[in-house]
């Protein structure tokens, strides 16, 4: 278990590494970061789910012990990353969330990252708290069902979140290459995202 102080430091570091983003602006009511969930990354760092706020992010759910669709989800995300120009690549984070926290320990997730040669400055593999898996899946519109043999049926999808966690677009993964329309949407979103968070959202009482 990580100490609360450690969590505060991680959060502070994260905040500092994302300059020019208004972290104090109220979270939109439909943001997936409204969920009070916690995740641990492949380096065993513990984060509040909402600390991912600040950068447009591609999210999906997967599990390490999956041999068909999950490698395809990751490959499709990597292919998307390579299709962006360097500035856009810099501005996009990837968060792959495990639906199998019992087996996807930080060590197991680090192995997945190594196996897929993921650029871990932009990619995070996240293990949610067991009790948070369902609510994360619900917020992302991802369905999964555990099978008796230890595998999972699950929706295979790449979801583009804006910097505040609103779902911008989603695309079914059907192969190693992402849908061209989805790539276009991601490019457009990244080029249209200003360096400073928009202040156009009126203050609301939505954030807890």
């Amino acid at each position: 278990m990580t100490s609360p102080m450690h969590k505060v430091c991680v959060a502070a570091l994260l905040a500092m590494s994302m300059p020019a983003v208004a972290m104090d602006a109220p979270l939109p009511g439909d943001s997936v970061y409204q969920l009070d969930a916690h995740v641990t990354d492949q380096e065993a760092r513990f984060h509040a789910w909402r600390s991912l706020r600040g950068k447009p992010t591609i999210v999906s759910m997967f599990y390490g012990n999956c041999h068909l669709m999950c490698p395809m989800i990751i490959a499709s995300g990597k292919a998307l990353q390579y299709r962006l120009d360097p500035a856009q690549r810099e501005g996009l984070a990837f968060a792959m969330i495990s639906i199998d926290p019992a087996r996807d320990t930080p060590d197991a997730l680090r192995d997945v990252a190594r196996m897929h040669r993921l650029d871990t400055t932009h990619w995070r593999l996240l293990r949610p708290e067991a009790a948070d898996v369902r609510s994360l899946a619900a917020a992302l519109g991802i369905r999964y069902r555990a099978q008796p043999d230890g595998t999972f049926n699950h929706t295979s999808v790449l979801i583009l979140l804006d910097r505040d966690g609103r779902i911008v677009a989603r695309s079914q993964v059907t192969g190693l290459q992402p849908d061209p329309q989805f790539i276009a949407t991601v490019r457009e979103h990244l080029s249209g995202t200003p360096a400073v968070a928009s202040r156009s959202t009126p203050p609301s009482k939505d954030s807890p």
Partner: protein
């Protein structure tokens, strides 16, 4: 001699359903579920667990909201509840009785409530297992007369409509009441709802088979619930949709 009396007494004490903290211990067992997925025979093994003896009440939920004001009607974010959330509680004229099951709650709110008391929502298989029971039998589903009575589930004519209706064989009340109930894995009941008529391309959406079907066309209690729950978003609320909590056995 004294030791024998003591053993007999503790055996007796174990016979009636053990209620503690409002939860009833449910023994493990197997149920042939009415809900089938492609390529399974519907057999579900249910491990020993505990279930709330009745649905969460208006009073209990109001207490939760006071302790966790982020779940109040005025503050809950749109992600977690629709505009109907707790709408019946704010209107003093039509406010339900404090002991009635709380309704107009989203799946997220139900999930958060159960977590707040160190519990979780029951799984569908657990719910179906306990709901198969009447006051004397653990599985009354073979009885056509009883089955016919479940047709009124979710209406004021439901067999467990009264809050003092008799408990079932497990000691659990209100499983066939005026309100439906959320389950934790309700999203898995969606099955092939949005895959109807899909071709092989869509099958890749999942790692394996998913098609959901019903084994018994006359298990109204299950059919109606699955039809209703599969139409819900996790933020949806309804005037006759409630919930209860469960706890895994350590």
């Amino acid at each position: 001699m004294l030791a024998h009396v003591f053993i007999a007494a503790s055996l007796l004490a174990a016979t009636p359903p053990a209620v503690s903290d409002g939860f009833v211990q449910i023994p493990s067992g197997e149920i042939r579920s009415t809900v089938r997925y492609e390529g399974d025979d519907g057999k579900r093994r249910v491990a020993t667990f505990a279930m709330s003896a009745r649905a969460v009440t208006v009073r209990e939920f109001a207490h939760f909201v006071r302790a966790h004001p982020q779940w109040s009607r005025g503050r809950v974010p749109a992600l977690l509840a629709d505009s109907g959330y707790l709408s019946n509680l704010s209107d003093a004229g039509t406010a339900p009785h404090a002991d009635a099951p709380v309704t107009h709650v989203s799946w997220y709110a139900a999930d958060a409530y159960c977590k707040s008391i160190g519990a979780r929502l029951p799984d569908w298989a657990e719910w179906e297992y306990v709901a198969a029971s009447d006051s004397t039998r653990t599985d009354a589903r073979g009885d056509a007369t009883w089955r016919a009575r479940t047709f009124d589930d979710g209406t004021p004519r439901a067999m467990d409509a009264r809050t003092d209706a008799a408990a079932n064989a497990y000691g659990v009340s209100g499983m066939h009441g005026t309100a439906w109930e959320w389950v934790g894995d309700y999203a898995t009941l969606l099955g092939d709802a949005d895959k109807r008529g899909s071709d092989d391309g869509d099958r890749l959406q999942f790692c394996g088979a998913t098609g959901l079907s019903f084994a018994n066309r006359d298990d109204y209690a299950t059919l109606k619930r699955v039809a209703l729950l599969s139409a819900m978003e996790p933020r949806s609320t309804l005037g006759n949709l409630s919930f209860r909590c469960a706890r895994s056995s350590p």
